[in-house]
């Protein structure tokens, strides 16, 4: 690697590093944080649901999921159920996922329901 190349790389790294923790893919974040309640298939059947008074949303349910705009999905993931008058059993993930990761997550949810807002 030439010196100027190396310098370029270092400069690039300097811009990336301050963003803090590594960005993870939506699939991996879903597996880690959402599957415990929403299930391996995203159908709302995670290992935690037996004694939950409100059941997790079935993310493959196109009818229910198309009733939510991307902004609403973003909000409920970042700020939790109560932010859209839903159950406190849906936690807020703001401290765990970055805004970029939440935006990726919304796109991923759209692939699970194979739906868009209003469709």
């Amino acid at each position: 690697m030439s010196n100027s190349r190396r310098l370029l790389l270092l400069t690039a790294l300097a811009f990336v590093a301050p963003l803090g923790f590594a960005t993870e893919t939506a699939v991996d974040n879903y597996k880690t944080y959402c599957v415990q309640c929403h299930g391996l298939q995203g159908n709302g059947n995670g290992i935690n649901i037996r004694d939950m008074s409100v059941q997790p949303r079935d993310h493959t349910d196109a009818k229910a999921m198309s009733g939510r705009s991307d902004d609403q999905l973003f909000k409920v993931i970042k700020e939790g159920g109560p932010s859209i008058d839903k159950s406190v059993l849906m936690p807020r993930w703001g401290g765990v996922l970055s805004d970029d990761e939440i935006r990726d997550m919304v796109r991923y949810l759209r692939t699970l329901c194979k739906c868009q807002f209003g469709s």
Partner: protein
Amino acid sequence: MTGRIFLVSVFAAVLWPSLVLADAGSAILSKDCVGCHNLKGPAPQTLKELWERQGPDLFYAGNKYRQTWIVEWLQKPQRIRPAGEFYGQHIQSGAGGKDVIDTSTLKPHMALSKEEATSVAAELEKLRPHDDLIAKEKVSVAPISKQMGEMVFDKFQGCLACHTIEANYGGLSGPELYTAGRRLQPEYIASYIRNPQAWDPKSWMPNKHVSDANIQKLVNYIEVLSTESRNVK
């Protein structure tokens, strides 16, 4: 000269047992435990590292556990996390698309003799990199009724989704909490509820932004649960 020798041997006689004990503890840890437990830190920084975790991190054991509990548990280990560690490695889709825990992948924990357990616990007690987080917590003992505690735990905060509060009641992705009062130091309980990510950046317990007053209630509730489960046993 003879006086010196005498002094040295007195010293040795007094110090020797504790030195041997500690040495035995660290020898066991580095031989039998490092394969599954992180004893040096830091906690996983990426999800890949998190998924590879074979057992809970022990590098802050001195900030976390009650030493007497470690000695007891290591002689007679019993399951604490219904879905093991990392939970994602121990679940599968079952009948009707409902997830189930694959218990065949959950192995019993190795047991130690009383002497081994005592020396290991003494060694773990020294691991205290998070004294700073512990020092921030002030837990005051205030009795709370089981009903009131459960109200906060379940209805207001939604903790029941991931934790059991009695055998077979509650969520399964987090450790059982009806024994946590015996297992954990109260300041650790408070600190982990306040900010799980301060201890474990990739933890799948979210920060619930619990108020100070409710943290106190929850810590006292968890204590109540553990005295009760002790009486039952």
